[in-house]
Symmetry: T
Subunit: 68 residues, 12 copies
Amino acid sequence: MEHTYKSIEITGSSKTGTDDAIRNAIAKAAQTITNLHWFEVVSTRGYIEDGKVQYWQVTLKIGFRLED
Amino acid sequence: MEHTYKSIEITGSSKTGTDDAIRNAIAKAAQTITNLHWFEVVSTRGYIEDGKVQYWQVTLKIGFRLED
Amino acid sequence: MEHTYKSIEITGSSKTGTDDAIRNAIAKAAQTITNLHWFEVVSTRGYIEDGKVQYWQVTLKIGFRLED
Amino acid sequence: MEHTYKSIEITGSSKTGTDDAIRNAIAKAAQTITNLHWFEVVSTRGYIEDGKVQYWQVTLKIGFRLED
Amino acid sequence: MEHTYKSIEITGSSKTGTDDAIRNAIAKAAQTITNLHWFEVVSTRGYIEDGKVQYWQVTLKIGFRLED
Amino acid sequence: MEHTYKSIEITGSSKTGTDDAIRNAIAKAAQTITNLHWFEVVSTRGYIEDGKVQYWQVTLKIGFRLED
Amino acid sequence: MEHTYKSIEITGSSKTGTDDAIRNAIAKAAQTITNLHWFEVVSTRGYIEDGKVQYWQVTLKIGFRLED
Amino acid sequence: MEHTYKSIEITGSSKTGTDDAIRNAIAKAAQTITNLHWFEVVSTRGYIEDGKVQYWQVTLKIGFRLED
Amino acid sequence: MEHTYKSIEITGSSKTGTDDAIRNAIAKAAQTITNLHWFEVVSTRGYIEDGKVQYWQVTLKIGFRLED
Amino acid sequence: MEHTYKSIEITGSSKTGTDDAIRNAIAKAAQTITNLHWFEVVSTRGYIEDGKVQYWQVTLKIGFRLED
Amino acid sequence: MEHTYKSIEITGSSKTGTDDAIRNAIAKAAQTITNLHWFEVVSTRGYIEDGKVQYWQVTLKIGFRLED
Amino acid sequence: MEHTYKSIEITGSSKTGTDDAIRNAIAKAAQTITNLHWFEVVSTRGYIEDGKVQYWQVTLKIGFRLED
């Protein structure tokens, strides 16, 4: 079938690392959107305090299938 | 008047070709959004099966006017 | 805490100039979204009539914090 | 011989589709410029009315050889 | 109708600020070209003297409709 | 399973149009590579003769699954 | 003479607008660097509070001539 | 000596995370290519099922030295 | 207050993985710079020996607040 | 004074090398345009015959001051 | 005829300069590939020892015609 | 060992050509920085007088190893 997809931009954060920030962003999106299908990393940033990474922040495009 | 526009990212697919994938994306968006105003192609991709294009997939930014 | 942010793309317009187009885009977004947090300019364009800028149009990514 | 080329940016439009918008842009350029040599697509956009593409607009760089 | 547009690249300068550099670029283009239709900012630069901006320079793509 | 993919860059050409140039590129790649999986358009160009498009040329990234 | 230039990246902020954020960045750089020569805008961002721009932040590349 | 290098584009996948997807891509390439020398991340994507990352997919450019 | 920030480009390396290369870059920068505030990943690369990643190398922009 | 500049895109070619292709492009532009002011390299390409570079081709943006 | 082209990415190096690094890359590719047709510079880098360029390294896309 | 590198942006100029502008930039940087390790060309520009290139200007990122 000829599906249609929408993609949104979400920034997840984590105190642990980049992969965990990605998992948090997707878990949050999954609370309100079904049919999440793929993600792509747009940028990886973070906040530093006392010379250490305090928050890792990864911005994703997340795509999901629209209901037909 | 000083209008405001929002743009969203939609991927349409088609078994026929790129222009048809664009038309499908816009037709789907028009089901729930009024005042669609313009589109811009972000990327053109496709899935291949048995050495032939099975699905053409075009990702668009679609802009629409917000109610004043 | 480990917040999650969403960013949307809005184009504001103004008869006055670029900064005012940015202010208008944010004011419009603030009518329906709380927790607006940051913006980034994506592109600056405008429409010309009779050899003068009639509308300044600035497209922004606007980020806001999702409820935890 | 060591030719020199100039390239200009032209946007063609069509009610039919992207390839036709490209053909229209080149046909228009050919009315006043000889020695057109190549084109490259810069962006593909369009205007939407009543939920359908009203105008397909393709912006091209078109290159032509300058007289030696 | 199916119009064709050409876009050119112009850098305007001003001692005042960025918006004024844009206005100057368009005013200059309007002296010799009719049907100016839109502009898009390509880059914003400037020259500094004695630790202050002496000239603001904004480079624009300016589009205009070709005669049918 | 955890597959690995390779992608190559192929330019297809056609006297007909952009979609046909894509189909030709994929058909050529399929002569020597199995498991072709997806494509993405990198650039769309063409050669012009006598003021008309003589060859449409579309450059693709084509991805295929490596044998496990 | 054959000068050499170095460029650094500075983000200026302002409560007033984009041009003022640029002026502040250059004024700050001029406190410790002589021979500032040019700037180029890299990105324009801002922080929002209560639905209004609280800080305009413009990131610049600033170039200066090294002593011969 | 004046070596020559070739670079290819490989996408590795993993159920674990991004670094592991990179390791898998390189291990696969090392099965058939000697003298692998460096890699660079081109894009980081993934597939989502049931609101969780099912496959992490990292696309790399991998460079290797050609025999002299 | 209207702070000014400077950003520098640092490449950290690690035998362990990408996040650790980021941590090493920031730890090194923190030895000589106070007020480190944020980072952004510019590129992720690595050196390969014997078909395995020997060094992960991540290039960051690191921003810090200049003394007022 | 507040000058205005126009920039055009020219591709020069040479049998000798890249710098010479740049010189040829500028010499050709100087035949019909006065006040040439600066150039910037957009892309460097070339044609190969019998395994050797036959023509070096460098595409430039060339800027010139418009008459006040 | 409707030819198909493949392009590969090769980095040539030279102790002499950029043009020579390009020539070396193409000479190396010509040892195993016939029908080399064009190249495009992707990046220009180099290694420095004792404050001087030791190796110039130019990365090219090199295109060649596939047998029909 | 796990080294850390810093990269800075320097523009060298020359009356001779692009390679010489690169050499000049590196020679200047080597006057004050030890352990220069690599460079990458960011942009190639130049100033024109009387229809000829007066100064070739190449902007480089130059990387050097920080003391452990």
